[in-house]
Structure formats: C-alpha cells, structure tokens
C-alpha cells in the first residue's frame, strides 16, 4: 500500500510518501493512522490528534472510518485550504 502525506503531515513525518504492508487487523484509515504513529517521532507528532486529519483512499476523499482493504493509495493530510 502506497501512503502519501501532504502539508504539515508531510513536514512532521519528513516523507512525502512511503510503502507499507499493514497487518490484517488494520481495517480502517483510523486503524492505519494508529498503526503508523509509533513508526517514528515524526509519525507520532503528525498523528497525535486524529481529529485534525483528513484522508483520501485511491484519490477519493473519505471519512477516517473507511475500510482500507484493497486500497492501492492512501493519502493523509490536514483539512484543505485552497481557493
């Protein structure tokens, strides 16, 4: 599974993207965030407050309780501020 990070999530983690193989009990985007948090101090800082995170699964915006089974690309980012 390919992970993409944007804005301050990317900055805190220090990576724009990474490939991971989450275990079977990682069912949703929220589970994925909880599983990723201990990977590094940067991940922990980025994912400390999941209420401030938004996500896209295969480029579609989704709530964090969305399943990730079969997803090719998951993006995690702050609320958007375009326009």
């Amino acid at each position: 599974m390919k992970l993409l990070y944007f804005a301050w999530v990317r900055e805190r983690i220090g990576l724009a993207e990474e490939d991971v193989m989450p275990p079977a009990d990682v069912a949703t985007v929220a589970d994925l965030v909880a599983w990723l948090a201990p990977r590094s101090p940067g991940h922990a800082a980025a994912f400390a407050d999941p209420a401030r995170l938004r996500a896209a699964v295969d480029q579609a915006f989704v709530p964090l309780d969305t399943p990730v089974a079969g997803a090719r690309e998951v993006a995690i980012f702050p609320p958007v501020t375009g326009g």
């Binding site: 980012f77 702050p78 501020t81 375009g82 326009g83």
Partner: protein, 143 residues
C-alpha cells in the same frame, strides 16, 4: 466545455474569459493573495491527480445542475506574492442566474472539496493556514 487547470503559471483572466464566451451569460470569480496580516509569500501545495479529478467532478456537477455551456476552474500552485491571482472560476450559460449561481457554487465547494494547502510566510515565520469553519458552512449551503 470543461476546462480544469492546475499550474504554477500566472492566470490570464482575459484569455480565460474569451474561452468561456459560449452563450448569453458569463460569470467569473478571481481570488487574489491578500496583503493583510503582513503576509509576504503564500505557497500552495496540492495532491497531483486527485486535485484535477476533484475539480473536474465539481465542474461536471455544476454543468449538470445549471445547464452550463462552459466552465473553467484554474488554480495556481507554488509560491506567490500578495496581489497575485490564486484561483479563477468562470461559468457560461444562456442566462445570468445560472452563470452567477454556478460560479458561487464552484468557488464555495472548491474550498472544501479540492486538495490544496496554503502555507504563508509572515515576518520570516512560515505557517500552514488553518481551515475555516465559515468555508465549511458556505460549501454546505449547496448540498
């Protein structure tokens, strides 16, 4: 016509409006980098691929809902200075009400539905711009 463009280049409003002139009424919106709060530089990051898909979906929604003959959504990314154009939205329809309403719909929904992030530099300090609840409310009035 649906035109969606995400680019680092300056936005040419005259050229955009000319492309839109495919009916009786054209409405446009342009967003500029504000100079207030001492912002020296604004930088826009986006999610390539997903951004264009989200903007195309909004343009298709507006075209179906208001019977538009042309829609353009042009959004700049990268660094820009106060006064520069960040975003342009334009619509064309047979009559003004559809053009004006769909133009407001597009800029309201673009703010919440497209993956862009703003980072501003104020007095040498760089910070990510926080999302505003007022933008969520403005987008929600169209659902």
């Amino acid at each position: 016509m649906i035109r969606v463009l995400v680019s680092r280049d300056a936005i040419d409003i005259a050229a955009e409006v000319e492309r839109l002139e495919q009916g009786g009424a054209v409405a446009t919106f342009a967003g500029l980098v504000r100079a207030d709060d001492g912002v020296a530089t604004l930088e826009l990051e986006h999610y390539p691929g997903a951004t264009e898909a989200a903007l195309t979906r909004l343009a298709e929604d507006a075209t179906a809902r208001w019977s538009l003959t042309a829609v353009a959504i042009v959004h700049r990314v990268g660094p820009m200075a106060p006064g520069e154009r960040i975003v342009f939205v334009g619509t064309c329809s047979a009559h003004r009400a559809a053009a004006l309403e769909s133009c407001a719909f597009l800029i309201d929904r673009l703010k919440t539905d497209a993956p862009f992030w703003k980072r501003e530099t104020v007095e040498g300090t760089t910070r990510w711009v926080e999302a505003r609840a007022a933008d969520e409310d403005a987008a929600a009035r169209w659902s």
